[in-house]
């Protein structure tokens, strides 16, 4: 089984990087994260300048004029992490939309399923390759924060926590996109679904006025953003990792179900 999964995964990987879309998506993500991280860093530098300015009564670091809550963590990393998550939401459906839908549209999905590969293995391989792409995207974007961490006293461990959160979040978004792609033969529909569902799941605050408080609380437990806040602050909580793992698992299960239903028809 492992051999078959690996063989399919290698094929998927070749297909992914043979297409320009992976590079365009990677470029867009890396550029967006770089620009926004840079903007946060510049704003932070400007804030420090204001506090240090003698004209406003400051006296530089010697006098301890910069309050402790003005620091790289609060002013750069936490807001940047929110931006990075949003960019993952923007770029990942462009990658996931073709994974299953393209095979369905071209008819090669039947070929795949009659080649001796089980739907379980097909879904596993395709999901694994997409998650690997998420890892590569995050690795490329980690260069900016790593540079800052190497200079500041934030610690690489903290950066690891941030990127574990990004990875969990990205894999969850990707699995939703893959599940949507597995139910349709149109890449456009897959993309629309891949954007809509995570966007709606992001935060249910817009429903809070229309539903009762217990329902609002329950929806809050489902919302993606509510489970993401601890990672940028340097804490990896087991229950949050389980939450994103559950979404990834459900997405994989949905893809498997779609393949089985297709086989049944």
């Amino acid at each position: 089984m492992i051999g078959r999964v690996l063989a399919l995964a290698r094929k998927e990987l070749r297909q992914l990087f043979a297409s320009p879309i992976a590079y365009v998506v990677g470029t867009a993500y890396v550029a967006l994260t770089g620009i926004y991280f840079f903007q946060h860093l510049v704003s932070y530098n400007q804030l420090l300048f204001v506090y240090q300015s003698e004209g406003l009564g400051g006296g530089g670091f010697d006098q301890g004029t910069v309050p402790s809550h003005i620091n790289v963590l609060n002013e750069v990393f936490v807001p940047a992490a929110d931006d990075f998550g949003l960019f993952l939401l923007v770029v990942l459906p462009l990658v996931t939309m073709r994974v299953f839908a393209e095979e369905r549209a071209s008819g090669t999905d039947e070929l795949l399923l009659t080649s001796g590969l089980r739907p379980f293995e097909v879904a596993l391989a395709k999901h694994a390759v997409t998650y690997l792409f998420v890892v590569l995207l995050l690795a490329a974007s980690a260069i900016y924060p790593a540079v800052v961490v190497s200079r500041a006293a934030l610690g690489f461990e903290h950066l690891i926590a941030l990127y574990v959160g990004q990875l969990c979040y990205g894999c969850a978004i990707a699995s939703i996109g893959l599940a949507c792609s597995s139910f349709t033969s149109s890449q456009i529909v897959a993309a629309v679904l891949g954007y809509s569902i995570p966007f709606v799941l992001l935060d249910f605050a817009w429903l809070s006025n229309a539903v009762s408080e217990p329902v609002a609380r329950a929806l809050g437990e489902i919302a993606l953003l509510g489970h993401y806040g601890s990672f940028p602050r340097g804490v990896i909580e087991l229950r949050e990792v389980l939450y994103f793992a559950s979404i990834a698992f459900l997405g994989w299960l949905a893809s498997l179900t779609a393949l089985e239903l297709g086989r049944a028809r």
């Binding site: 320009p20 990677g26 840079f38 490329a140 926590a161 229950r239």
Partner: protein, 520 residues
């Protein structure tokens, strides 16, 4: 998939996005609501149409495969949801912050263990989820809920604060209020220090009474300037002490109602009857903390303390390895990092937990009043330090580099415990034990320096030991390592050009190459 569901999804997206864009202006309005409602309707209509068009499976075997797949999906979904619900109460976490900001300190943990052992009434932390600082505070508050069995967390909304906490909810920044029984305590800024201080205040059955001796030129407890000592009084109150002023112990009450008397660097002699009153009070098991300072002359040091075993020779400790931390580095600014490892006041301090003491008077030990008394030096300057008795010369920075009177490791603080047959009831041995702590510097407790390094820890440890509150002697919570100004603006721009353009450019070129290969 038909056009209707796609259009419906677009309308839902537009509705949600427009709600977020305008909610601060006018709350939930008709445009977003109409879009969301119509979008849901279109999705349902499209789904119904698709369901009606479904022609079913080709045979029994196909139906079995389909049903099995759906059953597996349903089971997996139930398992995932069940795991999600069960894990909500799990608190396992990895705190990877540099300062372990969200891991409770030893002091907090020992307080929680003490609350659990005593079976005290539970304390409730009311956490306002929608407060301005809630996102930052949530992890810390959750740590209390996980580590402290007698502390529970109650989520609240600022629109409807709980009855007991309503009066204390003053601003949108109010994030945590601690309540026990019907009594609530405002925590202030939601830091571990403040939350633990609130727990201390609420859990203390009786606040230890600390009297400050005043009227002899002692430090100004009301002054909030850098050289004032309002922070000292505020610190003790925050930690659950009942702080009062004792205007001359010759007053009718004397220090009899005090658990601890603090003589913070008196500059003048006390009256003979005051000295006698203090002496009698100590003989009956009184507890006193004395802050000294080079150059001060008072019979408190030369008479009373000498009788109780402390020799505060006038002079200042000079150390070539002194601290560069202050704006005028000088060999008089001691960075004290040598502590007695077993004394309750100093055993939690070490080489890694330094105390900054500018201009410190040496505290030497004299003859013990009684054989059973215990005197111990608890904090020391380095082996290169010595005492310069010429204050004028020393303060002018002209102490000789070498001196025949070199002492090596002169003590900056000492403590004494004196078992006495006091008036305490049988079994209350510690109540009849007099205790004195002498620290040779007052500036370390000033507003400017009390928050520096571990200055407050030394002071609080002394106060707690004197108040027989040893169980709460532990390091206070961690200081936040400032991580400011990692890159200058110029460096930021330089890194940006190198990374934010070069890397995307490289990826784009790779993509062009991949596309060309594909076409070829």
């Amino acid at each position: 998939m038909s056009l209707l569901p796609a259009a419906g999804l677009v309308m839902i997206l537009v509705g949600v996005a427009s709600h977020y864009a305008t909610r601060s202006l006018q709350g939930f309005s008709a445009f977003p609501a109409a879009n969301v409602a119509l979008g849901i309707a279109l999705v349902l209509v499209g789904a119904a149409a698709r369901a009606r068009a479904f022609r079913g499976f080709s045979g029994a075997a196909s139906r079995r495969v389909a049903l099995r797949a759906l059953a597996i999906f349903a089971a997996g979904a139930i398992a995932a949801i069940g795991l999600g619900v069960a894990s909500r109460s799990w608190t396992a976490r990895l705190d990877l912050t540099v300062d372990r900001l969200y891991t409770l300190s030893d002091q907090t943990r020992s307080l929680c263990a003490e609350l659990d052992r005593s079976g005290a009434v539970a304390i409730e932390l009311v956490f306002f989820e929608d407060a301005l600082l809630a996102k930052d505070a949530r992890l810390l508050v959750a740590a209390y809920g996980a580590a402290c069995p007698r502390v529970s967390i109650r989520d609240a909304s600022r629109s409807e604060p709980p009855a007991g906490a309503r009066a204390l909810y003053t601003t949108t920044a109010t994030t945590v209020i601690a309540c026990r029984g019907g009594v609530c305590d405002p925590v202030g800024y939601p830091s571990e220090r403040n939350i633990t201080a609130a727990l201390l205040r609420l859990s203390s059955e009786r606040s230890p009474r600390v009297f400050f001796l005043i009227g002899h030129g002692e430090v100004d407890l009301a002054s909030e300037s850098d050289g004032g000592y309002s922070g000292l009084a505020a610190l003790l109150r925050d930690q659950g002490f009942d702080v009062r002023a004792l205007v001359g112990p010759a007053a009718a009450e004397g220090p009899a109602g005090a658990d601890v008397l603090i003589a913070a660097a008196p500059e003048r002699d006390l009256l003979p009857e005051e000295i006698a009153l203090l002496d009698r009070w100590l003989e009956s098991g009184g507890r006193m903390l004395v802050l000294a300072e080079p150059g001060l002359r008072s019979n408190l040091y030369s008479d009373l303390l000498l009788r109780w075993g402390f020799d505060l020779e006038d002079g200042v400790i000079v150390d070539a390895a002194a601290s560069p931390l202050l704006e005028n580095p000088s060999p008089l600014n001691l960075l004290v990092h040598l502590f007695a490892p077993y004394h309750p006041v100093s055993r939690t301090l070490s080489r890694r937990t330094m105390v900054l003491m500018p201009t410190t008077r040496p505290v030497a030990l004299a003859r013990k009043p009684q054989p059973d008394d215990r005197l111990e030096r608890i904090a020391f300057a380095t082996e290169r330090a010595r005492v310069d008795h010429d204050l004028t010369r020393a303060l002018a920075g002209r102490s000789p580099a070498r001196s025949d009177a070199a002492i090596g490791e002169p003590a900056v603080a000492a403590a004494g415990s004196y078992p006495r047959g006091g008036t305490g009831a049988a079994g209350e041995a510690s109540a009849a034990e007099a205790r004195i702590v002498v620290i040779g510097d007052r500036d370390f407790a000033s507003n400017r320096l009390i928050g520096a390094l571990y200055n407050r820890d030394l002071l609080l440890n002394a106060a707690r030991w004197l108040a027989s509150d040893e169980s709460r002697i532990a390091l206070t919570d961690k200081a936040w390592t400032p991580n400011q100004d990692p890159l200058t603006l110029q460096q930021t721009v330089a890194y940006f050009y190198f990374l934010a353009f070069a890397l995307p450019e490289a990826l784009l070129l790779l993509g062009i190459y991949a596309w060309w290969r594909q076409r070829a």
